[in-house]
Amino acid sequence: MLRKLLIGTALGSGLAFAAHAQDVKEVEMLHWWTSGGEAAALNVLKEDLAKQGFAWKDVPVAGGGGDAAMTALKAMVAAGNYPTASQMLGYTVLDYAAAGVMGDLTETAVKEGWDKSVPAALQKFSVYDGKWVAAPVNVHSVNWLWINKAVMDKIGGTEPKTFDEFIALLDKAKAAGVIPLALGGQNWQEATMFDSVVLSTGGPEFYKKAFNDLDEEQLKSDTMKKSFDNLAKLVTYVDPNFSGRDWNLATAMVIKGDALVQVMGDWAKGEFNAAKKTPGTDFLCYRFPGTDGSVVYNSDMFGMFDVPEDRKAAQVALATATLSKSFQSAFNVVKGSVPARTDVPDTDFDACGKKGMADLKAANEGGTLFGSLAQGYGAPPAVANAYKDVVSKFVHGQIKTSDEAVTQLVNAIEDAK
C-alpha cells in the first residue's frame, strides 16, 4: 500500500514537473480587455510574443470590468497559482507587492532604461522597495473635455479657458436647446469629473496636497468648499435622466449631438474612434478649463508575479515587449491613451493623442503630473471609494451643502485611512 502511494506521488510530481517544463514557452495573462478595440490592441502584444516563440494563454475572467478580474486574481494568488502577469491598477500593485508575491524585473528595467523613460509619478506604482514589479502599459488622463464640433459651431462657442467661460459656454448650449453636459450619474464618473474641478479651482499645488498627500488642512479648506460649489454648478447642466447612466452612453450623447460636452478620461476617444469620428472636424478635445499644463492620470499596469525560474524568461519577454516603443505606440493609438514612456515618437497619433503626449511630457518635467483620486491613483482604494461616496452623495442630494460635503470628506477619509 505504502509503495503504491509512493509510486503514485512520484508519478504525480513527475507529471507536475512535465507540466512546468511545458509552461516555459507560455505567457499566462489575466486581463479584462475583451471589448473590440482593446482586444485588437492587445493582439499586437500577442503577435510580438508569438514571433519570439511564446504562446499566449488568457486567464478567463467571468464578466467584464476589473472587479471580477481582481476577485479572480485574489483567489489565484491565495491558491499559490500565480499568473505570469495581470492587468492591475494603482494601489493594487503595491498591495500585492507588500504581500510579497510580486516578481523582480529590475535587471530588465536597467537594461531597457525604464527608469529614465517612464515618468517618475508612474514609478511610484511600478517600483516597490527599489524593485520593478510592474510594467506600465499606458497613461490615461482624466482632465479632458470632449465636445461635439457641430453643436459647438451651431451655438458659436469657443474653447473655454477658465471655469467661468466654461459655465458661459454651457449656458449657450442650454439656450440653444441641447443638453449642455453629458454625465453618467455613477459615483466614479462624478468623482472623475470632480478631480478636474478641484484641479481647476485650486490649482496644481492644491490638488497634490489635498488628493495625493490627503492633507487635512487642504481637504477642509475654503478652496475645497469652492470646488464643491463649482461641482454643484456643473450638475445643474445635466439632463434629468443622468443618474446611473454608463459612461459610454454619455459619450454617445456627445457623438450624436444630443449633448455638447462630456468631462471624461481619454478612453472616451475610443468611442469617438469606433464611431468613425475625427478629432478637429467631428469632435474637439480640450483640457478641462483651468487645468492646462497639468495632467491628472491613471495608468494600466501589467503586474509581474513571482513565478518559478522556468517561467521567468517568458515574463521578461512579456515585460520587454510591453514597454517596447513599437507596442506602446501601436497599442495606445487604438486605446486612446498615451504611451507610458515619454520617448515614443508621436507620428501615428491623432491630434488629441499628440496633445496628450506633449502634455504628459511637460507635466512630467514640470512636476504637475498627479494621480487621479477617483481612479485610484491618488490614495488607496478604501480612501478613494470613501471619496467617491461623498462626491456622489453630494451630486445626488444626500449631502446638501458644500460645508457638509467638506466635513463628510474629511471624516470619510480619516475613517478609511
Partner: protein, 318 residues
Amino acid sequence: MTTVTTQIKLTPEHSARPGVSMRSRLQDALPKIVLAPSFAITVVFVYGFILWTVYLSFTNSKTFPSYSLTGPRAYQRLWRWTFESDPPSSWYTSIINMGIFGFLYIFICLALGLFLAILLDQKIRGEGMLRPIYLYPMALSFIVTGVAWKWFLDPGLGLEQTLHQWGWTTFHFDWIKNKDFVIYTVVIAGVWQASGFIMAMFLAGLRGIDGEIMKAAQIDGATTFQLYRRIVIPLLRPIFLSAFIVLAHLAIKSYDLVVALTSGGPGGSAWLPSNFMYEYTFKRNEMAVGSASAVIMLMTITAIIVPYLYSELRERPR
C-alpha cells in the same frame, strides 16, 4: 412490543453467520458513508467558513486576510455608522433598505401570490395556460430581471417615454432615478419575479384542501369571505411557512438584482447589506469590515428565522 421481541430474536441469528452480519452492517453504514462527503463539505464550506468570517471580523484584514486578532474595531465602525442618518452612511442606507425591501417584498409576494392562487382556483377555463405565464418570471435570473426592468423603468427609454409618445405627456415616473424611491423599484422587479412562484405554492395548497370541509361550512351558512378567512387561509398555514422561508432567503441574498437594476442607485441609495459586504470586502479592501457586516447579516437572519421556525414547527404535532 412485538417488534422489539422479533429484533431480539433476530440478533443471535445474525451473529451466527458472519457473512450476513458483515453485509447487514454495511447496509447499516451505507447511508452514513454516502452522506459523509456532503456532510464534510457542508461542515467545512458552510460552518467552517462562517467561523472563519467571524474570526476575520476581529482582525485588521485589508486586501488579504490577516490572522492576528485586533479586537472589535470593525464592529465599532459599523455600530457608529448604524446611527449616521444625515447624510446617511452606506451601512445605514443598506440596513434601512433591507427593512423596506424585505418587508414589502415578502408581504406583497405573499398577498399577491395568495390572491392570484384563489382566483385561479375558481375552476376557470385555460388555467393550464395561465399558470405558466405567471410562473415563468421565476425561470429568469435576477440579472435578466434587473436589466429588463431597468430599461422598462428608465424615464428616457421605457414606460414614461412610451406614454409621452402616445400623448400622455404629464405622466411622470422616475423612481429609478430618485434616491428616495429607487429601493421601491427593486421591490417591483423582485415581486414581479417571485409572486408567480408563490402563487403556484398556494395553488398546490388550495388543491390539497379537503372539499368536504368546504361543503360542511357552506351548509352551515358561511359566506365565501368567511370561508376563506376562517377555513382556507388557516389551513394554508404550512404553505405560508414555506413561502416565507423561500422569500426571506431570496430577499436577503438579492445582491444581483440591485446591481443589474440600479448599479447601486444614485449615490449608493439602493444598496442592500449584501452590496455593502461585497463592496467593502472586495472593492475597498476592508475585509474586516466586510466580514463584520456579513456576521451581522447572519445574526439578523438567525434572529428572525429561528424563533419563527421554532414556533411553527413545535405546534405541528398538535
